[in-house]
Symmetry: D2
């Protein structure tokens, strides 16, 4: 299924008057709305292939209808998203769930939807059929060199798939850890991980980045071998200039100040990528902005500040990606909501009066500093984000259009009720 | 110091045009803005006397200048706040820090500022000079009946002070707990607390309420005798119809769903009062809405829903109070920011389309339910809250006016740099 | 596979000398070791049928070999455990994973292993093939009365299965909750849950207990409808005398004082059952005592104190059960380790000098109280627990014997490498 | 007051028979008890001067009687502790609370108690009378270079005091942080801190170490400028070889795996010192081992493993210190309990069979690894620690002797009921 540009235009026309009224108001209230819109239009958030199907918990999974069961259908899904919001112009593949049999054909298909390929993701947290060694006790950190080699080889293979598709980065999320005291020698696990990563790094094309993700806990419940930003940074620093830390919002201990971590990583030139989602308790993988929208804004505030300080382009300076699990909601609508929430937070952060903020900080005027941030956050920027979408040829209200067109219904008709996405 | 009505009018005049433009826009976008304004005008948040001075942490205290050092000056401070926002029309006293020597005179003074007396608060978490028994090992839960009696008597005395001033409720925040396993017999501590509270309850005037506050931890670090809403509800239920649970936002374990607790307490008819503040880690006592504004909105969403379901008036159905500690910011401005944030959250929650929400819930349409809540939260309601202030004769922008008038500077002139507020 | 009594005797004989030496020492050091041993022998911890297979996380599952794939094999597994430790004399079934086709045959089989049937567990957190309504949006709390009815009927069916087997209690763990603000009306969800539970309660045989389990979060990530002990107690109180709260160690928010909760529930006569496991982060479901052994001891300290205060028998006063997930370790050995850790904690708690503790508490002698608890905890009670096992005809060192006999290897031979347990 | 050696000998004689019986038993059960005893005798834990008085919380302080009010009395107190346990042979001073007027005299006094001077501690988290600039908004991270200079100068002065006394390290615990979003520019705060620390580092004698402590939160409640081990390590690495990270057990986010952090810091050659205490919720500063004794053991397990791997001496390889706050218990007894708990954990960790553990890890034999650790932890090592004390001329049971001799009573007689220790 492909959206017809007329459908979008019709939808926009129907909302045009109300939209224009709201946009005119806000455009008049803020400084340089055009610069904000331009940045919003350029800002793209990659969609991971595994987020297109219904996720589950360890207690079960309630399938949704019409899930994409092939890589082609996944690209079709992201194509639909991108047509609706013109902000999801890249797809992030997960190997082995999404091995392309004919890379060129897949590239062409993606191009037909105006999509590119973002970071490729390896998987050494599950065993695949026919695999020689099990990852039950880890992969890159494993005590057995043969297991490490198998995992390294897999990552190198993932890089090759990525090269064929035009990806420029590899994300390594390592589930390796332990669930019981004594299970691991922490130092040896770290050193094994480092040397495994060094082998992968050596295979990295010179224009690629290696993203080292960290996570506080789960699927292991005593220790994780790359558990926090400090450990990831240590590894990335030892690896070299092409290695970076990747931050996933849900991968922290309770109450962590993520915006500060982001700021320091940018300061060190070592923040590489970002996984958006939201959470209340653990790695809940909920819709971005659905639980702590102010935190999302504060993170964007630091991202902008840090990127600007390094002279990096907002859109391309980091790898931006959603990483969520859709257990209850329609995955496509959930992704539309996430992208929208991310762009709202970005727009609000763009409104922060940085000159005044700097001055307030220099004067320890905490009240003023708070007012500046809250002023930006409390501004209703929805018409600006909608305007950016409209100008890019997307829908003013993507969720409404998705619903009105019964997109899911059409996908079910094409794919059947019981199609199941590969992945978790 | 007392604000001159002309000062407020002048301030409002200077902001009038911009305010009107913004208000007209939003008034046109939402349904029945007048009903919202009316509710906002009626909604008053009590100011606790201890929040008027600079707070400290166990590591020290950095005094601010011009703090109120007498009860009269505290009333003057709240009078200033109320003049600026017309939303802080009550003061909550803390005994023994604020014992009035001449109750009628104090009442008259408060009335001259248009203030009433909210809940009175007892203090059995500190020893006072000349006190016979120490509260080092607790008060109402103490193993020694004489200590319990002393604490009960103190509470009864607090009630009497409250009666003289026109208060209608007593808040008991009990620090009683233990810092080491074995220190307490939990059941005995609970039973002692219950019987002590029963004695206090017996002394309660028939038109009073008793608020039983709970707190997860601090100042004790192993157990707290009234540690969660379940324990508070158990006590309040055993005490009788005049006893209620009081919820303080900062008194929970990490990640607690406070809005659900609030909802259930209202369902049981046992939610009595509410202490506003904000926190990231523990009982941080920060400015309301400064860390988790969406949570504050969600709580108001439940409060409104629950109050409406019981046919209770929003303004009077519960006791509303700020409870914060101002370690870094000017306490008066901090309070202005808190009250503003509370009213913004309340206004947003009033915008929730409850009919549609109910319908979405009945259909398990989670996407729609989320959109309804986010739609309300993302609305910029600042002009509505400002309009409510303006109509009540308060300042459109209280913080700006406070700054412009150099209120603190004048207070310093009147009171001196080194005046120190009684309290923590 | 069934253990031959000779195998155990041979094992015990080989360890006899070392064991006797250690036991003689400790028997001489403590008061009335015989009373402790007697209680240890009587104390049985039920094994849940789902814990006999390898568990998984949402990121995957690494199967172990020789898992029980039928109810008969599960009983065989528990029989092996019980033969090894004489402390696992009951099995807790989970419907529909363990529906007995011929109850009498199953009962006889269990009896042949000296096993009885503990609480039966219903499952409304997953959909079963052929089920009319989905539990995707909940079961007992569902907005749709037909879904609630289906879930109620299932629970009643579970009771019937339990009756046929001689169970005397039903455990309801309700996953019902929400992952997004707005998804649920909390009050309605609670009321629906209550009325569903009332229907189940009405079908409860008069000599049965209904255990209402609570859990802070997971599989839902915004709210859980029975989220804490307060909510469970509220429901159990409204249901009636046969309804109780069930505490699972892993089902709390970070840092909760579980021993205090246990104590208060016992005080209220509403603690019904207990699920043992251990955790560092969330509901990690690790081996009991593997992370926080002192907490386990402190909980037993309260359990003993509270049971004694009510004159309840330790062994039968509450329902004792393990609830863990074995992702990495051999489930049977993990269960042996759990049972051992539980009995060690119980034994240590039995050593607490309650008269001195009471006196220290009355004198606020915190140092003494701490010393009394630590004195018990620091005592090496392993020889006492081993002696209790030996006297009951079990192995002095069950894990060692399990390994020496290559029990798992034999099970693999009988069942095959790839047998998979039903369940999660 | 000074203990008479006869008092100790008498005490030991009275306990001798029971002690010998227990010691003989355990000495016979474990390998090479003599090596363990030797290590225990060498292991000294420094006592911070501020821990000798009663601590408080922000809600108040309940003074204890007979507190040391001069530096001389503090040394006397540590002298008493050391006489009782021969494990507290060093004192850690805090400037400006403990400025020695005559360093040589103080040194001689300490020497008369067989005490040396451990790390000196600076204080820039409070304002001192007469100080030119306030630390309300921070010190080493302050936006104003003059404030930073004042704080740097203070640290350099602290070093000078330390040199005069024979200290060899400076501990910088920096409270600097922020309580509100926007208050700080995180990067600037970090850079200011770095450059301030560089100035201090430049003044460091060549045989000194600089310990950079971190803390997750408190006294600031939004961000802390050195908030976690990653930030501390980054600073220590940029500073140079004499700079190290200092770990305080209570300074982490909930559920942090501290033993892993310790292990990695040792691996990097950057773990410098250790502050012992215990906590359940936050920086509770409770008696070491009173809440999570198994965690303490696991940390020691990593410390030993890491120190051995680097060929460092256990006793001198790191700076060992207690950092606790005694709000309820007699500080001296609390310290005796802490030191005892630390040595028990150390002794248990020394019992770990490292060869078998290594082998179990290489085989992913998790069950075995767990058994090895639990075997060590479950061993009752109290007689070994007591024997080490006895051989060093200390008391077999220091707490009992402290109580029997009524040490506190004698101190009260000497110092008066109302003496108050300087400090928090």
């Amino acid at each position: 299924m492909k959206l017809d540009i007329n459908q979008i235009e019709q939808h926009n026309a129907s909302l045009s008057e109300a939209h224009q009224r709201k946009f005119d108001f806000i455009a008049n209230e803020i400084k340089d709305v055009e610069a904000v819109i331009e940045k919003l239009q350029a800002f793209q958030i990659a969609i991971p292939s595994w987020a297109l199907g219904t996720g589950g918990t360890r207690f079960g999974r309630f399938n949704g209808p019409g899930e994409p069961s092939t890589l082609e259908q996944k690209i079709e899904d992201v194509g639909l998203l991108h047509a609706l919001n013109k902000s999801s112009g890249a797809i992030s593949l997960h190997i082995p769930w999404d091995i392309p049999t004919d890379a060129q054909k897949i590239k062409d298909l993606a191009a037909s939807y105006d999509l590119t390929f973002d970071a490729v993701n390896s998987n050494t947290f599950q065993d695949q059929a026919g695999q020689e060694f099990s990852y039950k006790y880890g992969s890159l950190h494993h005590v057995d060199a043969r297991v490490r080699k198998q995992a390294v080889d897999h990552n190198i293979e993932v890089i090759k798939h990525g090269e064929a598709l035009g990806s420029k980065s590899l994300t390594v999320w390592l589930a390796d850890g332990s669930s019981f005291p004594g299970q691991l020698n922490f130092r040896e696990a770290f050193q094994n991980t480092l040397s495994s990563l060094q082998e992968i790094y050596a295979a990295l094309p010179s224009d690629w980045k290696l993203f080292v993700e960290y996570k506080a806990f789960e699927p292991h419940f005593y220790s994780t071998t790359i558990a926090d930003w400090g450990q990831s940074l240590l590894l990335a620093s030892k690896l070299g200039d092409q290695a970076y830390t990747l931050v996933d919002l849900g991968h922290h201990l309770p109450n962590a100040n993520i915006e500060q971590i982001v700021s320091l990583l940018l300061m060190e030139g070592k923040l590489g990528g970002f996984h958006f989602n939201d959470s209340k308790y653990a790695d809940d993988d909920l819709t971005a902005g659905s639980i702590k929208p102010y935190q999302l804004f504060l993170i964007f505030n630091e991202l902008i500040d840090g990127l600007d300080a390094r002279g990096l382009d907002h859109a391309t300076g980091l790898g931006w990606m959603i990483d969520a699990s859709h257990n209850l909601k329609d995955p496509l609508v959930d992704l539309l909501q996430s992208v929208d929430a991310i762009k709202l937070a970005y727009a609000q952060a763009l409104l922060v009066d940085r000159v005044s903020l700097k001055q307030a900080q220099q004067e320890n005027n905490i009240i003023k500093a708070q007012e500046i941030l809250q002023d930006a956050f409390r501004t209703d920027v929805r018409p600006i984000v909608a305007e950016a979408r409209k100008r890019s040829g997307a829908a003013i209200d993507p969720v409404a259009l998705f619903t009105a067109l019964n997109v899911r219904g059409q996908l079910v008709q094409e794919r059947g009720e019981k199609s199941v996405a590969t992945g978790l």
